[in-house]
Amino acid sequence: MERIEIDYPARQPVVRRVHVGVVGSGDLEVLLEPSPDQRAHVVITTSVEGYGVIWRHVLDRFFQHFEGMASIEINDFGATPGMVLLRLEQAAEGLRD
């Protein structure tokens, strides 16, 4: 198990909470809620160790277009990078609904 924390600059206020996914095989859970400050904070807990670089790449891509001041907690159970990105997009979509 490994814990990874990454922060990003943010511009858009986030006013609601969104929960998606399950901590099941090949899947992950995302808890997205308003950030306590003007930045975005991501805290990842993953069952698979040694993939910090990949996590950074996936999140860099997501934060190219996501600008929400959000605290994002990710509880991962071996999801592929594609799955991670889909769940993040799903959470971002939940903010817009």
């Binding site: 198990m1 929960h19 399950v22 901590v23 859970e29 808890l31 809620e33 807990t45 069952s47 991962d76």
Partner: protein, 289 residues
Amino acid sequence: MSGDATRDYRRFLSRSSFIEMTARERAHAIVDAGSYRELLGPFDRIKSPWLPLQDIVAQSDDGVVLARGTLDGQPALVAAIESAYQGGSIGEVSGAKIAGALELALGDCQRGRPIWPVLLLETGGVRLQEANLGLAAIAEIHAAIIALRRLVPVVGVIAGAVGCFGGMSMAAALCSRLIVTRQARLGMNGPEVIEQEAGVAELDASDRALIWRLIGGEQRHAVGLADDLVEDDAAAIAVAVRDAFARGSPPVERSAQVERLAARLACIDPERPPDAGSLRLLWNEGAPR
């Protein structure tokens, strides 16, 4: 396509699989539209303190979704187990969530405010990593079901694909009404456990047809251990749950029919165990269901 085939095809397409839903989606699908309100949800972060100590990632709701809502306007409580998280296993927290919610419903019922309790059971039983704490919580769930069902029917649903095993199979057996699909399984020990402990000659856990003939929803319904056999369709299951409450509690709860159940066991010769078909004949012949 013939007319019949087209009709079957349309009927199939119009269904919404309950099995494929997450626990949260299932709870939403059961209660009246717009009435869903979750208790101790993911953002409350009431999660297992034990799994991270064993290097296992914990889920923010510990795999149990508690929802208050209504069923045809009647206040209801739905407890749904997420089978994708740790096999739907019951740990200290997830078990306490179910037991605590049932106990609060009991308090309301005793004060003359009936709450209809629904258990969406999809679980391998106790979470082995939390062993005794999980078992203690399951015992509390059993006690709460027995106390509650004196006042209000307790309705259980096993949809599949995990099924319901271990201590939670006893929770299912304690329910006033039990609803199953053909894909459901109900048993004390799961097939893999039996094969591991007693050998493949005793039970081949990879023989899916055999497993479902023995412990599948259709068989459990046919021998009277489940009350309703429904399609894997969210709308059909939601209707079956409401029907179960409309019918009310049975005159004598199934698990309280001790003499009848003992007589059923007595007519089985363990040296020559019956197959699925002969068990149906044996248990249904002459004996009231």
